[in-house]
Symmetry: C2
Subunit: 348 residues, 2 copies
Amino acid sequence: MNAKGPSPQKSEVRPPKAEVRSIADLARIAGVSVSTISRALTGKGTLNEKTRERVRALADEHGFRLNVAAQNLRLGRTGAIGVLLPLGHDRGQHLSDPFFSAMLGHLADELAEHGYDLLMSRVLPGRANWLDDFVRSGRTDGVIVIGQSNQGAVLDAVGRHYRNLVVWGAHGTDLPYLTVGTDNVAGGALAAEHLLARGRRRLAFFGNVEAPEFAAREQGFLAALPPDLRAQVEIVPIQLTPESSFAAASAYFAAGNRPDGVFAASDIIGMSIVSAAAEQGIVVPEAMSVVGFDDILLARIATPPLTTVRQDIAEGARRLVALLLQRIAGADVASVLLEPRLVERGSS
Amino acid sequence: MNAKGPSPQKSEVRPPKAEVRSIADLARIAGVSVSTISRALTGKGTLNEKTRERVRALADEHGFRLNVAAQNLRLGRTGAIGVLLPLGHDRGQHLSDPFFSAMLGHLADELAEHGYDLLMSRVLPGRANWLDDFVRSGRTDGVIVIGQSNQGAVLDAVGRHYRNLVVWGAHGTDLPYLTVGTDNVAGGALAAEHLLARGRRRLAFFGNVEAPEFAAREQGFLAALPPDLRAQVEIVPIQLTPESSFAAASAYFAAGNRPDGVFAASDIIGMSIVSAAAEQGIVVPEAMSVVGFDDILLARIATPPLTTVRQDIAEGARRLVALLLQRIAGADVASVLLEPRLVERGSS
DNA sequence: GACCTCTCGGCAAACGATTGCAAGGCCAAA
DNA sequence: TTTGGCCTTGCAATCGTTTGCCGAGAGGTC
């Protein structure tokens, strides 16, 4: 149990001396009024430096911290930002995709840096009011939705009367809410150009085009192909979970389909394809090139390492938070479109 | 933008009629007192059914929802559970492991099912008081810590005076806090037995033994080996991130080491090893068997699919939440130890 | 018609903080 | 000694709910 890494530094963790639950309790002990305590602990207002020090020491001694809930109620804010993941018809579906969890991690860091808590909520299916309900409950000062999924209508409706809403996803025209997202059309084009440059001609696209993000990737992919090839591209509808995408890919190859170049709408789908292909004796990259999308951390340690269209998740998270906080502050801000980048690895 | 999947069902999302911010506003409009509004909307207390319906309709009409913050303040609770991930000296480190994100997703579901929000917080390194501070701020009704990491001392100190604390991790004796975790020693033994059964004799363990979870896996692994083999096992210290584990594995193989059986302390490490081995021309599973730990979703779609010691994450999340809520309710509960299971796949 | 019993809904005090306003203390200048 | 000004700190209202207590009617019975 000996700490070897980051070890305890500042002060010791110690048990409280007496039960001090509110500033009123502390005021009694200190022999001052509650306002003095408040001013001492928040640092707001003017107060004699000695008094402030004395109160702070006393608070420390009793292990007292201001109650954030009460503070927030009084200040008319919550100090928390909601992060919502729509489309969870399968438990764990979205979070199973490392892209989402990476995004979540970066959002947590970024929000923490700005003093906000991150209130996470998976959205259960079927409730049309999920977003409206969440917003109205007043639990957070703003909302970040990761992925438009097929919930465009809901986002539109809420975005029209609720301003503190930022969505990760495709950049539509005239959306009533802010978006931050990768240029999926450009990303699809990158994949197409790369497969063409590798001499691939029998092409396939694997992805679920119900979601606007994926639809844009497909569209960009097709648009960048010469017309004769474009007409022959096979579109394989596929779900996001590893199991179902693996199963679909297996079935596809087992049916005798033999494309020589595949663009997968996500890295997870890409890895499923590689794995399914291997089982059918199709060797990647010799017999078939596979290009993914996202550049999740695991893409590098896949076997073979996955060529992919990289989205800068960290930058995305930074922009999402920045935009939202500016909007909360009342600033006038615009949506952001990030440029994707092709990362060539062993799978193509 | 046409919704195809779960489509809007119940009521329409609509803008509010007038500015109704508090039950006082609504009371004025309805011509009743605030208590009546409260009773109508919460369903608590007795109220004429007709009045209740009338108030509810009016609230709906104006898009009014009770302010959760105020409600919680009054009720002396927060309605939120904190989920903390310690040891984040590398941004995104822990969340990059699908194990953590899967756990997080299941926790979110499980908590939502019990009416709690999930307040997520990555813990920044170096602050010895991180947990104490968080607990004292009163932002949540309870805390779930995912992974003991090297923070045993901190957990001990806080656990002694704060009861609503549950930790995912190793099951120590006489810990002052509740734990839910897999029997890591048994898991290590499963891996050892499996490698022995495959006829492997030149064994290696890859993992970071600073964390008690991993140390227990190593210990169980070693204990299950015959003494002569045990003495020859190579212990390769390795970090959790994909990049660093891949780099370490690469260096290890490049140095000419050629074990024929490897036990990796996590699936991510296992996949890194397979990938690094492939680069050096070591064929898995023919020349070397690899066994991972966790059974993350991706283990199935790895190439080759990864043999691994499965932890039941969903069950773990369920137990974590159940234990915490029982404890919050004042019940007397005990820590839980889950049995791991070996899942044989192509990598061994 | 008087009295009792219910049922319904209003009053007001909490929950734990923040903050505008003003009172009191202190010091220096007159 | 008086007065004015500044610095420090206290008073009390407020944020939006919940809920114990109690009064006012309604309805029933004799």
